[in-house]
Symmetry: C2
Subunit: 344 residues, 2 copies
């Protein structure tokens, strides 16, 4: 049996920007630069490209010379695939021994010239959406160390951002924490992780257990959430992740103005109270002490005049801090965690 392992990337990265024309297509690369600038050696742009992510331009030869280990295809071009004229660059990078890391809905193995180049140089072809084929079934056995999981009232409510912001706020106060990635962009930022929504159903919680192994008593894993218990398409992923993460604490992530599940408009977004209650009820299976420690709100669509009152009301109703991480930061949630879980 192959070793059980998560997806692991090698830094430093060269980020492929190509010739995109819309800055939002560079979101993944920007995220990596924002959260992990130390991983990024540079960007690979074509001469005509006007979009940048604030890092040096490098050719593949330069990058190889400078010890770059991976080419990250982190853009999201229209159609979700890679334009034909990008492939010669990808092949060149593979030939130069750079791992090719791809987060798009395609299989690098389907590109014979890239495969051949990688085989010759020893580079790895890593589709970040592809989990390892050998995964364990979840045990539910208690692990050492502390864990906080991001959960959502819906998908795409800022769970990854909240996890990263919380992790950094914990670091800033001197706490020992690790961001644990469960999705493709998160994995590129963390440098490792498992795409939890792509594993075979029987292994969801087992994969989640692998992501946050035993650790020091005062160490916190800050775990990126996926989906929502209240999402008719993805709830199974979320419950398996909850049980496998066995979190001591969770943060509810929410979009202040969303009333229906995005794209599933016939399903209502739950109340924050229901969201907390059902996570406590379900989460007790593998961590009887589970509790909510904060509400992380995307309030960008609220009128500025209503924001403070809205968050104040949420905090009153739930008795935990309610913040917009982009505006307020996560200090209030870190304080709540420190109050509830004193160092041992």
């Amino acid at each position: 049996m192959p070793e059980l392992t998560s997806v692991r990337l090698r830094a430093p990265y060269l980020i492929l920007i190509g010739n995109i024309t819309d800055p939002t297509d560079a979101k993944t690369g920007q995220g990596i630069v924002q959260w992990r600038p130390e991983l990024v050696a540079g960007q690979l742009r074509f001469p005509e490209c006007k979009i940048g992510i604030g890092v040096p331009d490098l050719t593949i030869a330069d990058a190889s010379q400078a010890g770059v280990k991976s080419l990250i295809i982190g853009v999201a071009p229209v159609g979700g695939s890679v334009p034909d004229n990008w492939w010669p660059y990808i092949e060149e990078a593979a030939a130069a021994g750079l791992d090719i890391v791809c987060g798009l809905h395609l299989k690098l193995a389907d590109y014979p010239r890239v495969v051949a180049a990688a085989r010759k140089s020893g580079a790895r072809l890593i589709d970040v959406r592809n989990p390892p084929t050998e995964l364990p079934v979840g045990t539910g056995v208690n692990r050492s160390g502390r864990r906080v999981l991001m959960v959502g009232t819906d998908c795409a409510v800022g769970k990854k951002y909240s996890a990263l912001a919380l992790h950094h706020a914990m670091k800033d106060t001197g706490m020992d924490s690790t961001f644990r990635a469960t999705g493709q962009t998160g994995i590129m930022i963390a440098g490792e992780g498992l795409p939890i929504d792509s594993v075979v159903a029987d292994f969801i919680s087992g994969a989640a257990e692998m992501i946050s192994p035993d650790n020091d008593a005062n160490h916190w894993d800050v775990i990126e959430g996926q989906g929502s218990l209240f999402h008719p398409g993805y709830s199974g992923v979320s419950l398996g992740l909850l049980h496998g993460s066995q979190p001591d604490a969770f943060v509810v992530c929410h979009d202040a103005t969303r009333t229906a599940i995005a794209g599933w408009e016939h399903i209502a977004v739950p109340s924050i109270a229901d969201c907390i209650n059902q996570h406590v009820l379900a989460g007790q299976l593998t961590n009887p002490g589970i509790r909510c420690v904060g509400i992380s709100v995307n309030s960008s669509k609220l009128p500025a005049s209503e924001r403070t009152a809205y968050l104040g009301r949420l905090a009153d109703e739930t008795s935990v801090p309610a913040i917009d991480p982009l505006i307020d930061g996560c200090t209030a949630i870190v304080d709540e965690i420190q109050r509830r879980y004193p160092m041992e």
Copy 2:
């Protein structure tokens, strides 16, 4: 994109018994004969074999002559694989044009002689554990017709048996119902279905939706459950199946003497009341009217003197019928269903 479809088998079946020596190894074949005798043309036994499942012995030539369409490898020999001396028979069946249907942890595609024989004859090689690769994401949209789902306080508490017994009891009263299979043995019995625990996590509820499509207003799908919401390894499968099935009604399946999750002894089996409550709470997402209509108990390990009192107490506590399907049959649950859901 390939057509979205469940695993579909062609009857009649020839069931491969080989040379097993332990009757329990023939459980799958026995189950098919018990529930679907009309699908089974015969059994294929080696001369020295003393075990039978009560159907005629057929050679592959006889079977082919008689219009048999599939060879079912339904035994569970020690080690979970097929003994070497069985493969020539499997190859012969494939060469004769019989689909090869396998429920074991192996890939038929890994046996080149069988692959070659099947390719030549046009036979299909069907690993029942392998779901189709193209599946939809769950929509949560309300479907026509009625559905009842088996759920469990643990795995292996009689969900498949309960579903089949309930389906037949409904048929016996003239109700219009279909057994919907979500596991390998169930699929062999139903002739179609999806192995819900083997699909990619993102598609659990979508697969469940495919299994029980729109139907007549008074038609009931009786859906085989998988796992348990209270199982630390498989809860994600169970929640996705619950949301995708959008059941009107559910039956709690339970082993009367089990106090801990089998093989996960550090996790307690939930109370029946907690099991009902959490299924109602979660199930309301896709079917606000969801309710429990019965408790199906495996009471085989209870002293006979305690059985009636135990079931009576459960019925009192839950206000729904509590039966052992093997002893009492499912009539009481059918009555409850008819009372709660009058024909339209």
